[in-house]
């Protein structure tokens, strides 16, 4: 890799760049947008376009099965607010976020740091093993839930029984669901994030680490005071994405609530995303689904805004 040292001449060249002309700035803008153009097009087509359409149909009346645009006023929003499941789903997702986001990030970072203390074949193998569950979806997850959480047939039976959980129905209860989804989610999602954070740790320059060693730091101090701050942007990235993903929790509660396979005490609609799906596909009320989605978006956006502003995530570091 190229040697990256700063020379004195570069400093003066920096000055030259800072006083560039108006025309150069416009050229840069044009160039920037040529880089962004395909992305903007796709974002409009598959991100914002549908989002704006969702906004429009949130004011459409779907009672006859087809949309009558702008005829519903705020009726759809009222439908959402008056639905008895709204408070329930929001409370659920709130509880879920509260435990899953901090725990998820903390454990991922912890494992990445622990692995990185001794980088090498063993760390590499462990990282692969942590990652494999992430590929288990759909039928595999259903099977695993049935068989890992039924003490009589589970490899973890001994552990479950010693915790006093002697049956499947004792483990999956309405009050334990947030925790169960955390376990399921971490099982499949953690490996990828551990790999990303480990990759970030690998990127820390050896000179920095050597300097720390020479200063007398042991591995634990290095992890806490050097590595951790250096991977901050990746941790923030993880926070935002895990938050965004968990707010939209859908697959796990849908799998567990589907009484065809898993006869568990799980309500059909547990998360807000499921409620939106229910409005859309059980009742045919796409307008209410869109209204709820926009409400969720507003909340998620609010939280992300706070995070981004607080951490200066979007500033270019120069």
């Amino acid at each position: 890799m190229t040697n990256l040292s700063i020379s004195v001449e570069d400093q003066s060249k920096k000055k030259v760049r800072l006083s560039s002309s108006h025309r150069l700035r416009n050229r840069r803008t044009g160039e920037a947008y040529s880089f962004l153009l395909p992305y903007i097009l796709f974002m409009l087509a598959f991100g914002l376009g549908p989002g704006i359409y969702a906004l429009i149909i949130s004011f459409a009346d779907y009672s006859s099965g087809l949309p009558r645009y702008f005829k519903a006023g705020i009726k759809n929003y009222l439908t959402v607010f008056k639905d008895s499941r709204l408070g329930f789903t929001f409370a659920n997702i709130g509880k879920f976020l509260l435990i899953s986001v901090p725990v998820g990030i903390a454990l991922v970072v912890l494992l990445a740091l622990l692995l990185h203390m001794r980088p090498g074949k063993v760390a590499s193998t462990l990282r692969t093993l942590f990652f494999i569950p992430g590929a288990a979806v759909g039928p595999a997850v259903v099977l695993l839930v049935i068989f890992m959480l039924t003490p009589q047939v589970s490899p973890f039976g001994f552990l479950l029984n010693s915790l006093g959980l002697t049956s499947f129905n004792a483990i999956i209860t309405p009050s334990s669901l947030a925790f169960i989804f955390l376990i399921m989610g971490f099982f499949s999602g953690a490996g990828m994030w551990i790999a990303i954070q480990y990759g970030a740790l690998e990127g820390i320059s050896p000179e920095v680490m050597e300097a720390a060693t020479m200063d007398g730091c042991n591995e634990w101090q290095k992890a806490l005071y050097i590595k951790l701050p250096l991977i901050r942007p990746y941790i923030i990235y993880q926070f935002i994405l895990i938050f965004a993903g968990n707010v939209q929790l859908f697959v796990e509660p849908q799998l567990l609530g589907n009484q065809t396979y898993i006869h568990a005490n799980v309500p059909l609609v547990w998360s807000p995303n499921q409620l939106a799906y229910s409005f859309a596909f059980d009742l045919g009320n796409f307008g209410a689904a869109a209204a709820l989605a926009l409400i969720m978006l507003a909340i998620g956006l609010g939280a992300s805004y706070l995070m981004v502003r607080w951490t200066g995530f979007f500033k270019i570091e120069n």
Binding site: P50, T128, Y261, M296, I316
Partner: protein, 302 residues
């Protein structure tokens, strides 16, 4: 020799620290690995054996082979077709999302231009929009251009990969030295030159990371393909397998069976799960080369 072992394993961590470290790693190893081990063993059991044998005991090889045969003989090996579909959709999505996302992430990271902040916010917004609300608009949009029930209905939306753009953004903000870029700019290089000759070659580790994240997300994606594809010949693996499970008695042994139907039980469901897992593992191992040691080296200085 003891000194060597000490230096390798205990130095800078301490004996207690070492034990603690290994304890934590071992606990999580068990948590991640045991269920997968169970899944690998599962096809060897027939349905009663799932309750009668100890959980991690192996059943029989004959049953293992029968289970695999049953899955692959479904609808004359339709599983192969789904596998092939999944592979190509994911490949094209990856290429598309890289072609679109790399320049975009780079521009957002390195260039100053009006609207930069807005773009980052819009990217975030699109990631926060719940999928359930986007389904209908997406469906109608694609129907407008007659792409529903075609592979493009799956590939094109997947090319929009905000997650990847963000990762590119972070990667370039934290590991592309501005001095390098500035020097090139001052030398008269256009932004495009800088991207092509400096940023892209440095992006090898990023490419590896993006490749397996994109692969993982698209390989397992169920919702999009399910809504946008009706013809079972076009299905991806997750949708096809879900259809099999939903249309046979796989996960609810005994429910509404018919004569002549291929037996689908827990063992076959486990095989279906394994079919999904194996390629991801292979891709992960392949992209390890780019993501591991030496990959990001030297880039993060803080």
């Amino acid at each position: 020799m003891v000194t060597r072992w000490f230096n390798k394993n205990v130095r800078d961590i301490g004996i207690l620290g070492s034990i603690l470290r290994w304890a934590v790693l071992l606990i999580f190893l068990i948590y991640f690995v045991i269920p997968i081990l169970w899944l690998i063993i599962a096809p060897s059991k027939d349905t009663p054996q799932f309750s009668s044998l100890p959980s991690l005991a192996f059943g029989s090889f004959a049953q293992y082979i029968t289970a695999w045969k049953n899955v692959f003989s479904y609808q004359n090996g339709e599983v192969f077709l789904w596998f092939r579909n999944s592979f190509f959709y994911v490949l094209y999505s990856l290429l598309g999302s890289l072609a679109i996302g790399l320049p975009a992430g780079y521009a957002l990271a390195i260039m100053r231009f009006p609207g930069r902040s807005l773009m980052l916010w819009l990217t975030l917004i699109t990631m926060l929009l719940p999928t359930s609300a986007l389904v209908l608009p997406l469906f109608m949009e694609l129907n407008l251009v007659h792409l529903v029930n075609t592979p493009w209905a799956v590939i094109l939306p997947a090319c929009f990969f905000p997650f990847g753009v963000y990762l590119t953004y972070i990667y370039y903000t934290s590991s592309l030295p501005s001095e390098l870029v500035d020097a090139a700019r001052v030398d008269g290089a256009s932004e495009f030159d800088v991207f092509l000759y400096i940023a892209l070659p440095l992006a090898q580790p990023l490419l590896g990371l993006l490749a397996f994240i994109s692969f993982n997300a698209n390989w397992n994606n169920y919702f999009g393909p399910y809504v946008l594809l009706n013809d079972d010949k076009l299905f991806t693996l997750p949708v096809g397998i879900q259809t099999v499970l939903g249309s046979t008695s796989a996960l609810q042994p005994g429910f509404n069976p018919t004569p002549g139907a291929i037996h689908f039980g827990y063992a076959e469901a486990a095989v279906a799960g394994l079919i999904m897992i194996v390629p991801v593992v292979i891709i992960f191992l392949l992209s390890q080369r780019y993501v591991v040691s030496g990959a990001f080296t030297g880039s993060v200085k803080g």
